[in-house]
């Protein structure tokens, strides 16, 4: 259980959060700012 928590904390959460965050930032935010 500890290992699973560790792997979630160290890998799964960063992967999921960063992927969605970078999609919003570089995919939507950056082109939209440039278009305005």
């Amino acid at each position: 259980m500890t290992d699973m928590n560790l792997s979630f904390r160290r890998l799964v959460r960063p992967v999921l959060v960063s992927t969605v965050f970078f999609m919003l930032l570089t995919g939507l935010g950056y082109p939209q700012r440039q278009a305005c």
Binding site: R9, R10, L11, R13, P14, V15, L16, V17, S18, T19, V20, F21, F22, M23, L25, T26, G27, L28, Y30, P31, Q32, R33, Q34, A35
Partner: protein, 567 residues
């Protein structure tokens, strides 16, 4: 002629100047110990400790899983396009095999497109899927190069850096600022940047014409700086909205070469071996100039069969001469030749002319460069590929003179060479294996527009482009079939990760070794001799591997053309 040569000299001089500026900047990004405020916020949001180092295996797994998540999000975005916003034209979702191919393509920095952007992707997909994956895929490559160089520079170390720090810094400090500034220049040059999907105009003939628009300028910047290459429009950089002027053509070329060339300087700075960095830059440049001269000569000479029927193909004040089929008049032979050489050297895949219309020897160059995959190469991975051949060169020299091979003060042993060979062999196995499979697969010939040697080149080009993560298309091949979508998708994955991961392992192994001081018996690698040896190894290994396949494609097509036969 002279003006064309001056054009080459001017652009390559600009690139060399930018090598120093960008190389210094990249070295600072890779080695800086402080974190900016947005970076600290991001690390807190992601839940990562930016000061924790990662071994090569942890770095590689994190990179792989992070890329898998990008791929999955991209795939879902394309499959759900019909219900997503910014889709006033009501474009339907891509089919499963096409969405897989597209998501893999943009995650692996390939940007092979089996679809036509203006008729199948909404503005939401172009931004949230394509632009995002172009940023993420390219940043992954540069992050891997940062870790790789760090591994070479360290001694007795367990880690090669932190993937999250590298990825975030490359995005925040390199890609976003560069793209933001360059997009303004592109807008000034006439590239559209709007959230509107289309505009309807009345032409001079009185016909209503539907013109597709979108966030093209922001798309174009990362497309070239990230050595991505996928077009907003089907015609890619031959479309006037993607590449309206000679200046944008030149900026596209410089953007493609910017990071792959600057990594040599960043490497030299980080290892305190500037001369070594210039030797690697020289190796890149020598190969690039050789290939540029072949494609320029072939295209400027044109097709001898046209000369024999009275067509004037000589260059004059009133015409550019040579083979202008498939080329834009505003770029001419020189601008196109430089673009063709750059886009396949830097494995970008953007095209400002139709490669299918190049002369056989002109078409040989993009194929050969993608097969070698070490002439500047894509962002990050191109430099890593060059080092793999440099290690191979050191090993071969060591065998010839009977000494233990050393590279940058580290002993090269069996484990490193096995990993290097795994990386070297994955590339031809994918290209030649999938090409052989496609040639034998029932129904594949229906996808070809040309018979004979040219048709074979079209298939070979597709898998070379996919495996090299280039993405340019030879055209003449209908690749939007379940067979091509699946196999080219697999080729892109093999080309990306089966070459990248073994080399990260090499970096990790070298980082853990002690550094030996140079002695009288050390083979010096920061010399023109070693530059020549590295180029020789690349050409010989590439030639022995791919010459039989090239002989069946562009080489026999060239001989056929001289004999009066065309396809």
């Amino acid at each position: 002629m002279l003006i064309n040569l001056l054009q080459f000299a001017l652009l390559l001089s600009c690139m060399t100047l930018l090598v120093v500026v960008m190389g210094k900047w990249l070295a600072r990004v890779f080695t800086g110990t402080g974190h900016t405020l947005p970076e600290r916020w991001s690390y807190r949001l992601f839940g990562v400790n930016p000061d924790a180092g990662m071994g090569w295996a942890q770095y590689g797994v994190t990179l792989l899983v992070s890329n898998a998540a990008m791929l999955l999000l991209g795939y879902l975005g394309l499959r759900l396009q019909g219900v997503m916003p910014l889709n006033p034209l009501g474009l339907a979702a891509q089919s499963p095999d096409l969405a897989f191919n597209t998501a893999v393509s943009f995650t692996t920095n390939t940007n092979w497109q089996a679809y036509s952007g203006e008729t199948s992707l909404s503005n939401f997909s172009q931004m949230a899927v394509i632009t995002f994956l172009m940023m993420g895929g390219a940043a992954t490559g540069v992050a891997a190069a940062a870790a790789f160089i760090r591994g070479l520079s360290r001694k007795n170390a367990d880690d090669i850096g932190n993937y999250w720090v590298d990825l975030t810094r490359v995005l925040y400090r390199v890609f976003l600022p560069l793209c933001f500034a360059l997009a303004l220049v592109y807008v000034w040059q006439g590239i559209p940047q709007t959230l509107a999907s289309d505009v309807t105009v009345t032409t001079l003939e009185g016909v209503k014409q539907h013109i597709i628009l979108g966030a093209v300028a922001s798309f174009e910047t990362i497309k070239h700086i990230g050595t991505n290459g996928g077009g907003f429009f089907s015609m890619n950089a031959a479309h006037p909205f993607e590449n309206p002027t000679a200046l944008t053509n030149a900026l596209h070329i410089l953007s493609m070469l910017l990071i792959p060339s600057a990594l040599t300087y960043a490497f030299g700075s980080m290892l305190f071996r500037r001369r070594q960095g210039w030797v690697f830059f020289g190796a890149f440049l020598v190969m690039f100039l050789g290939f540029l001269s072949i494609v320029y000569t072939a295209e400027q000479t044109g097709n001898p069969l046209l000369t024999s029927v009275g067509a004037d193909q000589t260059m004059s004040a009133s015409q550019s001469g040579g083979n202008m089929e498939g080329k834009e008049l505003r770029f001419g032979i020189a601008g196109t030749s430089l673009f063709v050489t750059t886009t396949t050297a830097a494995t970008t895949g953007s095209v400002d002319a139709m490669h299918d219309s190049l002369t056989p020897m002109g078409g040989f160059v993009p194929l050969a460069q993608m097969m070698l995959n070490s002439v500047f190469g894509g962002d990050g991975v191109g430099f890593i590929n060059l080092i793999q051949y440099a290690i191979l060169a050191v090993f071969l020299v060591g065998m010839m003179i009977g000494r233990s091979p050393e590279f940058l003060g580290k002993k090269i042993e069996a484990r490193e060479i096995k990993l290097v060979m795994l990386s070297v062999l994955a590339h031809p196995i994918s290209i030649l294996g999938f090409t052989a499979l496609a040639v034998l697969w029932p129904g594949v010939s229906d996808s070809l527009n040309n018979p004979g040697a040219h048709g074979f080149s079209e298939i070979l080009y597709a898998y070379a482009s996919g495996t090299a993560n280039n993405g340019s298309a030879f055209a003449g091949l209908n690749a939007n079939t379940p067979f091509f979508n699946t196999t080219i998708g697999l080729a892109m994955l093999m080309g990306r990760y089966l070459t990248l991961l073994p080399m990260l392992a090499v970096a990790g192994l070298l980082a853990s070794k002690k550094t030996l001081p140079d002695s009288a018996g050390t083979f010096p690698t920061a010399t023109p001799l070693f530059m020549g040896l590295t180029v020789l190894v690349i050409i010989v290994v590439g030639g022995l591997t791919f010459l039989p396949a090239l002989a069946l494609g562009p080489l026999v097509e060239h001989l056929d053309m001289l004999a009066g036969r065309l396809f």
